[in-house]
């Protein structure tokens, strides 16, 4: 329940961000119910436009993006689930079409890479810090120095 709420919230945030580019279409499109509408909104914001590559099909004005939006619309209106639409797109355009790639063997490095690098960095920092403390031992004073310090301290009194 909460998860769905978060997703919807996120989707609506995305929607605001990109409303300018397809608001005209969103006005023309009337959904049969809220579920269909939210599915559509989430999907068009998760699918990559292959013509412009760095835009979602919601953001893009390319012809292919329009066609794919229309396809997503007909599929969700026909009652097909989000994963049905995702499957439909990936069998045709590959994993590249997904802005949120699936977690699998091929994308393992993509997902875990940053965490691995973080731990590597922490490991090296800890090692470096420890090494530093070995190289510079805490300053020690010999007897003569201690005596002179004591003298100085006593003098002020």
């Amino acid at each position: 329940m909460i998860k769905r709420l978060i997703i919807t919230l996120m989707a609506s945030l995305f929607f605001i961000g990109s409303a300018a580019t397809y608001s005209d279409e969103a006005e023309r499109v009337t959904f049969k119910n809220e579920q269909s509408k939210s599915d559509y909104t989430v999907l068009v914001n998760e699918l990559r436009c292959l013509v412009c590559q760095n835009q979602t099909i919601a953001d893009s004005d390319a012809d292919l993006a329009k066609d794919l939006r229309a396809k997503v619309f007909t599929m969700v209106e026909a009652g097909q689930s989000r994963s049905d639409v995702i499957d439909y797109m990936t069998t045709r355009y590959g994993d590249f079409v997904l802005y949120r790639p699936a977690f699998k063997m091929k994308t393992l490095l993509l997902w875990l890479g940053p965490i691995v690098f973080l731990f590597l960095a922490i490991f090296f920092v800890i090692r470096w810090v420890r090494k530093q403390s070995v190289i510079t031992p805490p300053p020690t004073l010999n007897e003569a120095q201690r005596a002179s310090v004591r003298d100085l301290l006593n003098k002020t009194d």
Binding site: V51, D63, D67, L68, K71, T91, R92, G94
Partner: protein
């Protein structure tokens, strides 16, 4: 000089290598999920014959190519000459998919530049294009005798593409059992 002073240089060298690899990649060439899969079935009206339909079944049993083209596509014009010479020389049957084009424009285009296609299917709505994962016209698929897609090139075909990819593959596929 201390050995550790070389570490930033080493990191920089690694970075340079990765950036150089990155420059060599072609992000436009998305690997097709269709390689090794059967060509999707479709039935579309023929461009040149009123009221007749064409499907990939018509070319079953031979090594053939499917070329997605349109009269509005500038790169298609660029590849047309190369493609035509290759098709005529090697006698490759080609099904042209006229993608999201006005049939009249396509006919005029072919009349002016020549028609190397054995069949031309009209995909006015671009629906078959979606089924084939088309995203950048022109696209060229190579299909073997069993109807399996073996290669796809996105963007115009150049002489190098023919020499390095298409010709060797087609000769190899012709050797295979149907």
């Amino acid at each position: 000089m201390k050995k550790s002073a070389l570490i930033p240089l080493g990191i920089f060298a690694v970075l340079v290598v990765f950036l150089a690899i990155g420059l060599g990649l072609k992000p436009r060439e998305v690997p097709s999920p269709f390689i090794g899969k059967p060509v999707p079935e479709f039935t579309l009206p023929k461009l040149m014959a009123e009221g007749e339909n064409i499907s990939p079944q018509a070319l079953k049993g031979q090594v053939w190519m499917l070329n997605v083209f349109a009269s509005w596509c500038v790169s298609c014009r660029a590849e047309h000459d190369v493609l035509t010479r290759f098709i005529n020389r090697e006698k490759v049957p080609v099904l042209g998919l006229n993608y999201k084009d006005e049939p009249e424009d396509a006919k005029a285009w072919l009349a002016a530049l020549g028609n190397p296609y054995e069949h031309i299917a009209v995909d006015y709505e671009g629906q078959v294009g979606i089924d084939l994962g088309v995203y950048g016209v022109p696209e060229t698929f190579v299909i073997d005798k069993k109807g399996i897609i073996r290669h796809k090139s996105t963007g115009p075909v150049f002489d190098e593409t023919v020499q390095n990819d298409l010709l060797p593959l087609i000769l190899k596929l012709r050797e295979e059992q149907g």
